[in-house]
């Protein structure tokens, strides 16, 4: 996969640290890290009950249609209707059951329903761009939505974000809390996107690209994409001492 944005900005590719696929805090190609990325080395502390436990969060709040972004309003949103489904697993390969997934995205024209989004693309009165659901007993989730559009941002000349959907997940512990993005296969904008390319390892970048799956596609209705998500394992069993 080409790294043209790094060449454009004279940025050295980050070292593949091998310990995790996550990007570094500081990535000069992504301008917003300049004043926000911590500069000191992280403190490595013992993992305690505090880090190895996590919230049981949100189940009772989920409505039956919260995972269908095409049925939140009287009319249907414009765009290419898609199904996004997959499994949530922990680093030990176990399904994460009853886990809350929250999702947000731009509409088909590449605009967020958000006061801060100034991109002069049309808003869709039938699309909030927000959804959530809980994984089933096998860790599976399913959303119905529309394919988000690409949109420009001010990071560098002629910068456009590849189409993406943001995901927020809780695993089994505070360690496994994850916010990430799902991308679409074959997107022509990958090569110039520093957020995507901040991930040092090519296999890591590929794990953020969903796969088109005709088995998920519903005839005469919606295209299907598979996106599996693997959260950090817990590495220890929490004990209640008292």
């Amino acid at each position: 996969m080409s790294r043209k944005v790094d060449e454009i900005h004279g940025v050295e590719a980050p070292a593949d640290t091998g310990d995790a696929p996550h990007p570094p805090y500081s990535y000069p190609g992504y301008e917003s890290t300049r004043l926000r990325a911590p500069k000191r080395t992280l403190t490595i502390a013992p993992r305690t009950l505090s880090e190895l436990t996590g919230p049981v969060y949100g189940h009772e709040r989920i409505g039956a249609l919260d995972n269908d972004l095409t049925r939140q309003y009287a009319g249907e949103p414009l765009g290419e209707r898609i199904i996004v489904t997959g499994r949530v697993l922990d680093g030990d390969g176990r399904p994460v059951r009853d886990g809350l997934i929250e999702l947000w995205q731009a509409n088909a024209a590449g605009r967020y329903t958000h006061a801060g989004d100034r991109h002069p693309a049309p808003l869709d009165p039938n699309f909030s761009g927000a959804g959530r659901c809980v994984t089933d007993s096998e860790g599976r989730y399913r959303f119905v939505t529309v394919k988000p559009g690409a949109y420009p941002w001010g990071n560098h000349p002629n910068a456009w974000r590849p189409a993406h959907i943001h995901f927020s997940l809780f695993g089994r512990s505070f360690r496994s809390r994850l916010v990430t993005q799902m991308y679409f296969p074959g997107d022509p904008l990958f090569h110039q996107d520093p957020i995507f390319n901040s991930i040092p390892d090519e296999r890591g970048r590929e794990r953020l690209i969903s796969s088109f799956d005709l088995g998920i596609t519903e005839p005469e209705w919606a295209l299907g994409y598979n996106f599996d998500i693997v959260l950090e394992g817990r590495d220890a069993t929490p004990m209640e001492d008292h």
């Binding site: 004043l35 990325a37 013992p46 919230p55």
Partner: protein, 190 residues
């Protein structure tokens, strides 16, 4: 760890999805012992970060976590106490919670930890979240023996202790050293 899904920034437009409901009150404001825990997130220029999201995870006042692999124990603080809170930052970079001071939680090798709250911050420009801990200013003795605080460079430990004030306990997060020499908050690898 092979196979783990990489982190990406939360971006600036998460509000409608992640902040749709108010999750800043872990207990009712009228609850005896309720405290307000608040602060500001600053960037390296000393400017407030208005598009951050702050989450906390803490034990109840007896030091118990209602965690996912143990039966949910009724908390003394509230039957609905989940230990979890989420707050956006406003245009001045401010976040805030109403909660209780947690009790002591077991640490490694039979130790007890000082009362503390785990905090994580997400924002545009943070490709992955940062994680820190909030300690309490009225716990000098237990803070001095806390097994996690002791791993922190000594002259920076104070950045993890909230400050008492009229508006409650204040805990500011500095993502980098500030222009006036204010040190970057200590962040942990979890």
């Amino acid at each position: 760890m092979p196979g783990v899904t990489p982190s990406q920034t939360v971006g600036p437009f998460f509000h409608d999805a992640l902040l749709a409901e108010d999750q800043t009150r872990l207990v009712d404001e009228e609850y005896p012992g309720a405290i307000r825990l608040h602060g500001t997130v600053y960037d390296g220029a000393g400017e407030p970060v208005p598009d951050a999201m702050v989450e906390i995870w803490q034990a109840d006042s007896r030091g118990r976590y209602p965690h996912s692999d143990a039966p949910l124990k009724a908390s003394e603080d509230s039957e609905s106490f989940t230990g979890f809170g989420r707050s956006g930052t406003d245009w001045e970079g401010r976040f805030g919670f109403v909660t209780v001071k947690p009790g002591r939680v077991p640490g490694p090798k039979g130790t007890d930890q000082a009362p503390h709250v785990l905090m994580t911050v997400f924002a545009r420009g943070l490709l992955k979240r940062v994680v820190t801990r909030i300690y309490f200013p009225d716990e000098e003795a237990s803070n001095a023996a806390d097994p996690v605080l002791l791993t922190v460079q000594e002259d920076l430990r104070y950045t993890l202790v909230a400050e008492p004030g009229a508006g409650g306990l204040r805990f500011d997060v500095r993502l980098q050293d500030g222009p006036g020499g204010e040190p970057e908050t200590v962040f942990f690898s979890v």
